[in-house]
């Protein structure tokens, strides 16, 4: 990853964030999306085996994602909505990981992951143009569409095998980190799509090939920036997947969260809908070319 001089002053760091937030808001305003807020303190977070929503004794859990609550709003007729909020992930800290980070999440009723991919690319370009200065141009080739690769084809080329319906979770994650991600271009946005069905617990399966889910990820500057999919709206299927995740969590020795029955009850009313979550701090990191996420937050986690 490129190393650049830190932003220098607190003021410069805050201005970068403020301009980035304003750019995100103007993007969604221009598309008629409604900004919403959902609770940070949850009773029943989505069970995902590799994500820990930190427990708050006596109160519940800090949200690892606003996903379930936003889908309930869409199911209740909210229309296209977006949110800029905080999410929490227990045990994650590294050069590009924070235990508390800013997430931009939005939903497009009536759309599939195809339109969501287009809009994610458009959002990143929009923010990049607004953050660009003569001394800091956009960090990808402007004017060129982001590369798009189907996961099984990309794995075949870079890792020598095609992950499918019966993919080994561990092997998939290892080769993604060890072989695929390091080979992605650094100077261009890349959209990866059609993940093995097991790698997407809240996404709809591809109607033409149920071995894969209609899920995508955006990489920029080698960083995983966004995750989106066509939402699963089949409540029975969603319940079965949640139970599988809960079993996997229990097998790790953790106690599974309660099931969010209100979410499952609302799900059939969601209909066709696509949603995307984008890490705002990572977007700033990728657009500035800095190499530590602590360079773009108001405080470094260690200094909180």
């Amino acid at each position: 990853m490129r190393n650049r001089a830190p932003l220098g002053s607190t003021r410069a760091r805050l201005e970068l964030r403020a301009r980035g937030l304003a750019a995100v808001r103007s993007f969604f305003d221009a598309r008629g999306s409604l900004e919403v807020e959902t609770p940070l303190l949850l009773r029943a977070p989505a069970p995902e085996r590799h994500i820990v929503a930190p427990a708050v004794p006596g109160a519940g859990f800090l949200a690892a994602s606003p996903e379930l609550q936003m889908k309930r709003l869409v199911a209740d007729g909210a229309g296209p909505i977006h949110q800029i909020t905080r999410s929490f992930r227990g045990g994650e800290r590294g050069r590009v990981h924070l235990p508390e980070f800013t997430i931009v999440e939005w939903y497009l009723p009536g759309a599939t992951y195809r339109e969501a991919m287009d809009q994610t690319e458009a959002l990143v370009r929009w923010v990049a143009e607004r953050l660009a200065t003569p001394g800091n141009p956009p960090r990808f080739a402007p004017g060129f569409p982001f590369e798009r690769h189907r996961i099984p084809d990309l794995f075949e080329r870079l890792a020598g095998w095609r992950p499918g319906a019966d993919v080994d979770d561990e092997r998939f994650a290892f080769d993604l980190v060890d072989k695929v991600e390091p080979a992605l271009p650094r100077d261009q946005g890349v959209l990866l799509y059609d993940y093995p069905a097991s790698q997407a617990s809240l996404a709809r399966l591809c109607p033409a090939d149920p071995a894969y889910a209609e899920r995508f990820e955006l990489y920029l500057g080698g960083l995983e920036l966004a995750n989106g999919f066509t939402e699963l709206s089949d409540a029975a299927e969603q319940r079965a997947r949640f139970e599988r995740e809960r079993a996997a969590i229990a097998a790790q020795g953790r106690s599974p969260y309660p099931l969010d029955e209100r979410f499952l009850a609302a799900l059939p009313r969601l209909g066709l809908c696509a949603g995307v979550a984008l890490g705002f701090d990572r977007l700033l990191l990728a657009l500035t070319g800095l190499d530590d996420i602590g360079e773009v937050t108001s405080f470094r986690w260690e200094e909180v």
């Binding site: 994650e92 800290r93 994650a173 980190v177 790698q199």
Partner: protein
């Protein structure tokens, strides 16, 4: 035993019987996947550099590697003899282990010896050494500004390129990483 969460720069680990040192590392975790630590490691014997990814919780064997400061004494055939500066113990490093480094060794030069499982496996030279020119063609008058070079043998044995104005008996500073002439020095 180390755990993947112990990975830090300069951590020395044993892989397939070889000592490696971590030169860079990064915590990586796909949004929907398990956590890994991606590292760049360097073989402490061969100097080979490798990118390696460790699974979360993976065990790593520590490499018993230490650096001792030692003075070069002399060589006898294929054996280069050094003396530990604190224990005065003497030990030999083979020509094969030294490779090109042997030609920068001069008597009393202080180097760091890498000891692996109690045995010397290699040395780390100072970046710059001061050596005397033992053999070169005489300087050519008028050529000092042309920027050209000529071959010269230095007291440690290496053949290097020096500017035309350097003569036999001159003392020069040499970069041991690439054998590059740095400057002429006034000495004794």
């Amino acid at each position: 035993m180390y755990d993947s969460s112990d990975i830090r720069k300069n951590l020395k680990i044993l892989i397939d019987g070889q000592p490696w040192v971590v030169v860079d590392f990064q915590f990586v975790k796909p949004g929907k996947g398990t956590a890994f630590t991606r590292t760049r490691i360097k073989n402490m014997i061969t100097g080979a550099v490798l990118d390696k990814t460790f699974r979360s919780g993976e065990k790593l064997e520590p490499a018993e590697v230490e650096q001792v400061s030692a003075q070069y004494m002399y060589h006898e055939g294929e054996q280069y003899w050094f003396m530990d500066n604190s224990s005065y113990e003497q030990f030999a490093v083979s020509a094969a282990q030294l490779g090109d480094q042997a030609q920068f060794l001069t008597e009393n030069l202080v180097v760091n010896i890498t000891m692996f499982q109690g045995q010397p496996v290699g040395i780390e030279l100072p970046t710059f050494i001061e050596v005397q020119i033992t053999k070169c063609e005489p300087g050519v008058r008028g050529d000092t500004a042309s920027g050209g070079t000529k071959p010269a043998t230095i007291s440690s044995g290496a053949l290097i390129q020096v500017p035309f104005h350097i003569n036999e008996g001159d003392w020069v500073k040499v970069d041991t990483r690439d054998g590059r002439y740095v400057e002429r020095i006034n000495k004794r």
